[in-house]
Symmetry: C2
Subunit: 200 residues, 2 copies
């Protein structure tokens, strides 16, 4: 996705060979116009998948998920990382290990909002080791919901999550796939970059 | 705002005389079409205020803030409740006490994204005791940013936050103001309800 790749090139900051900071438009400050287009792109890619609901995780998944939900005209459910006091009963939970934070947290969704009739699109801002997406897929499975696919804004292709999810049979659509952050440079996977070039 | 009030009447669940659960469309499951209209309404009300940026707080503030940002064509910044590992330097912080969770948490925004040139619209999903909005206003003040107003999706008019913010001189625009949750009934403030009736 051209607009997104340009934005990453202009504003992404390489903090280390594994950490890319995109907090100027995606996960601290948000560019609503860009994320609106990100949502449209997810909706286009999954337009014929019969999606009934989007499942994401707080906090940075919410903006792209809600924009995709706007275009697909389906509700969005976000998993919580902490239990809320007004949301205590009938939770479906999964454990998610964060390599960045080096801690395991429990994520949860109310049973009320996922059912056997649902065909879910899982959306998240980043895909690195795939733990969050796997946790969301586990919640979907426990609810008896189908997972039509996983939409990711930025995939770190050099980490193992994407391959792992595809090996498990999930359709993963990442709008930008980063090949390497070595030497402070952001390199994109050729297909993503070429798709960008073609659109431009 | 008619559409919102109808939704609260249909789907809001009164858990106690002070707690209204609206997790079917606002803060767990999200109705993107409704929140798109909520964003449009905020944008309309603050269209002549010269807003340069929206400031909100994770997680439930993000969806309405991003939709308002889409309509006002300005960036959105969300304050974090926990420090991120990739976001450690140059933070502006404020302490926020949650009456629901009975705990104080520190909220933070990167200095990079707020400046003396900014004229902010603060957005949140709920206004009860006003602690989150006050914390966001404190962050704005520490950044030297002006606050043009505060946009709230649902105000609990029987709690003290709204009055406190208005007494401090803030322009507070709440799209639905709830007068009472006594006896399991949701009563709206007359002006909000009437505005709903007029639009209908």
């Amino acid at each position: 996705m051209d607009m997104l790749i340009e934005k990453i090139k202009c504003e992404g900051i390489v903090l280390s060979p594994s950490v890319l900071k995109v907090d100027s438009f995606l996960n601290h400050q948000i560019d609503p116009q860009l994320i609106h287009e990100v949502g449209r792109e997810f909706a286009d890619r999954f337009s014929s998948s019969g999606i009934t609901k989007i499942l994401t995780i707080e906090s940075s998944g919410i903006a792209p998920a809600v924009m995709a939900g706007l275009h697909l005209n389906v509700p969005v459910v976000f998993a919580r990382k902490r239990k809320s006091l007004t949301l205590i009963n009938d939770l479906i939970t999964a454990s998610v290990y964060s390599f960045t934070k080096e801690e395991t947290s429990e994520i949860s969704v109310s049973k009320k909002y996922l059912s056997e009739e649902d065909n879910l699109l899982i959306i998240d801002d980043f895909l690195a080791n795939g733990q969050a997406a796997l946790g969301l897929a586990e919640i979907a499975q426990k609810a008896g919901s189908a997972v039509a696919g996983i939409g990711i804004v930025i995939e770190k292709g050099f980490q193992k999550g994407g391959q792992q999810l595809r090996d498990k049979g999930f359709r993963v659509e990442s709008l930008a796939i980063i090949d390497s952050l070595e030497n402070g440079m952001i390199s994109f996977e050729e297909t993503t970059e070429n798709m960008g070039e073609l659109i431009r």
